[in-house]
């Protein structure tokens, strides 16, 4: 496997316009630091999940990668080429064929007046893909069928309102696939759907990865969805990566208290016994404003394990071995079976990594 995408030192700051009064009073211009220095690398054929709450910068990171938002600093390298300063529709045409985006809301992505066929045909025409109309028709049909809309002919002439939510998202996937991309950035692709339909779509995406040699950057707020689909998980908070590593390690042996808290509030396998309560670490308060990021560790205002150092010095991502890193001063000490969750008060313990066989099972990518 070779590296397909690398993001280094990425920063995206959105300046806040000062009111006249602020200028007169000499207040400094401030900015929303949506993404505040992250490094990522995605291998060919890999699924990397970017997990974080609203305001964590996960979507902005995705938008920079598909070149919809300009970075403030940092570099983006795709397949060995530096694409950081590649801008303009024409110059980006080749890049956009190779990197596609799937949005969250299929109801808004699709044009209600456009047929399914035309939606999928549009990217082909815009990008001058396919030598003849007939060749394009074949590509459209194959994309629809690959997305599970079989037979394609029965769906092609329909309009979005004639389809269910799950089918609409399949159409969106077909549109992204039609141009034959290598990297697909999927931003919350199943969040709008019923839980029972999510599984089907996640499976479809994993099947397509094999068939079409895709690589995914999968953006979600839900750790349990990341767990289903991802090889590696990166947990973001307020514009920085808090923890990154193989999915099974991040879930089973979290080394950052934020990850551990997210694991603890994830759905439980079974309801607690009568009269008992599940052990959860519910963080108090809300994510701070990205224009006023706390000094020191940015998680310190909500961290159950905060101590003096956290308030003054921001921890770097510390390499913990086995591909896992965490940005926490306590990460290196948290070596017990449940990771840092063992140090949290009142937390539901992750299961820890059990037998080598179980580890192997968990590390196998396919569903």
């Amino acid at each position: 496997m070779s590296e397909l995408l690398r993001v280094s030192g990425l920063q995206v700051h959105f300046p806040i316009r000062r009111a006249l009064g602020d200028v007169v009073r000499g207040r400094a211009a401030s900015a929303v630091r949506a993404v505040d220095g992250i490094d990522l690398s995605i291998q060919e054929g890999e699924v990397l999940a970017l997990v974080g709450e609203s305001g964590s910068g996960k979507t902005t990171t995705g938008r920079v990668i598909v070149k919809l938002t300009r970075q403030t600093a940092g570099r983006v390298t795709f397949d060995g080429q530096d694409v950081t300063d590649l801008w303009g529709t024409r110059r980006l045409r080749a890049y956009r064929r190779r990197v596609q985006l799937i949005f969250q809301d299929p109801y808004e992505t699709l044009d209600p007046k456009q047929t399914i066929h035309d939606f999928v045909a549009e990217p082909l025409e815009v990008n001058h893909i396919g030598r003849s109309a007939a060749e394009r028709e074949v590509m459209i049909a194959s994309a629809l069928e690959a997305a599970g809309l079989r037979p394609a002919a029965t769906y092609a002439s329909r309009h979005p309102h004639e389809l269910s939510g799950g089918q609409r998202q399949r159409v969106v996937i077909a549109g992204a696939l039609a141009v034959g991309p290598e990297l697909v950035v999927a931003d919350e692709p199943v969040s709008m759907l019923d839980v029972s339909i999510r599984t089907e779509l996640l499976r479809l995406m994993l099947d397509l990865r094999k068939e079409r040699h895709l690589t995914y950057l999968f953006i979600t707020h839900d750790l349990s969805i990341a767990w289903v689909i991802a090889d590696r998980i990166a947990v973001m908070y307020l514009g920085k990566i808090m923890e990154i590593g193989p999915a099974n390690r991040v879930i089973s042996v979290p080394r950052h208290p934020y990850t551990a808290a997210l694991v603890s509030v994830a759905p439980s396998p079974e309801p607690p016994a009568p009269g008992e309560r599940a052990k959860r670490t519910i963080l108090v308060g809300e994510t701070p404003d990205a224009s006023a990021i706390p000094a020191g560790c940015r998680f310190n205002t909500r961290c159950p394990l905060v101590f003096d150092r956290c308030r003054v010095e921001e921890p770097p991502l510390i390499d913990l071995g086995d591909g896992q890193s965490a940005a926490c001063w306590l990460a290196e000490q948290a070596t017990s079976t449940g990771g840092i969750a063992d140090m949290l008060p009142n937390a539901r313990r992750p299961l820890g990594l059990a037998s080598p066989a179980a580890q192997r099972l968990a590390s196998q990518a396919a569903l």
Binding site: I197, T199, R203, W227, V265, P267, R277, R280, L367
Partner: protein, 372 residues
Amino acid sequence: MTEQPIPAMLPLSPADIRGRRQWPLPKLADPNAPLLEVRDLKTHFRLGRAWVRAVDGVSFGLADGEALGIAGESACGKTTTALSLVQLLPGNGKIRGGSVELFGIDLVQKSERAMQRYRWREISMVFQGAMNALNPVIRVRDQIAEPIQYRLDQPEAAARQRAIDLLDMVGIPRKRADAYPHELSGGMRQRAMIAMALACDPAIVIGDEPTTALDVMVQAQILDLLERLRRDLGLSLILITHDLSVLAETCDRVLVMYAGRVAEEGPVRRIFTAPRHPYTRKLVGSFPNLHTDRRSLAVIQGQPPDLLTPPPGCRFAPRCDFAMPVCTEVVPPEVRFSDGVRVACHLFPTSDIATVGGSTLEGSTLGDMTQR
């Protein structure tokens, strides 16, 4: 920084709960009647000259202080059921049969004017999109004070004070009480919605997907809040969601609906650990769980039926892995079992109550059947 853990549930008895009411019961209320009893509710929507049978014979009860979860896919009738309880159906919707008895009073028979005594004062609702449900140009505090002032006939100052107290109780600090909805975050808005639902001290609060649009951590905070309020105020809750996992830690009983009917209903632990109905089993198996093998997720093939012309027999039969010839012909009756579960499935045609007489039911769940 974590909040104090909540001690074990509900020390209150039903008598306690009714004794704590600040405002009197409705005049016709029978003090010994069950809190809520829904029988054979049929709510249909007019579509041209036909009726879409969105809710088609649903029965359930709710006891004082109990939390009931209603789960199912989109369009299974769960929201319609809730809206029928408070009679807030869209113009083309009509309750065409059955009864909704609150304290023994049938609400279906009530006129719109008479309903106002019950809606919000006895049964209130928290909707999914807090931004759509709140008025954007009125301060949150004043929106909550309004029903207190008019429904409970309180002076303006007292209503406003109660609104501020309610906001404080749901975790919105006093200094934020005069904010407008857009100045609050999604989680805060949902808290404000909950405060508003509590304004008139209702006996029942219905949450229709109250956490669906929220981040996972905020979702956990809101569910925690609902549980805390339920204990402190002796509320009875009905939580409606497509996500069964939301119900696991908050509900006593779960009702699984499919295509306008009850598929299975029972104590939450039985529903999650020993589901009988094939549909329940699929639903339970389809939510991602960090604690199991991630490849074991269940998929429910196909789509729910068109309720304009629902299939004869069991409505789940076309998607069911266990469908038998009888399933496509005969509607499965609801059968009650001794562990408190009620199932409508031909795989479970006879109850164990008469024959086994109260023993537990190990070995008779669908999971066990399929292992053989």
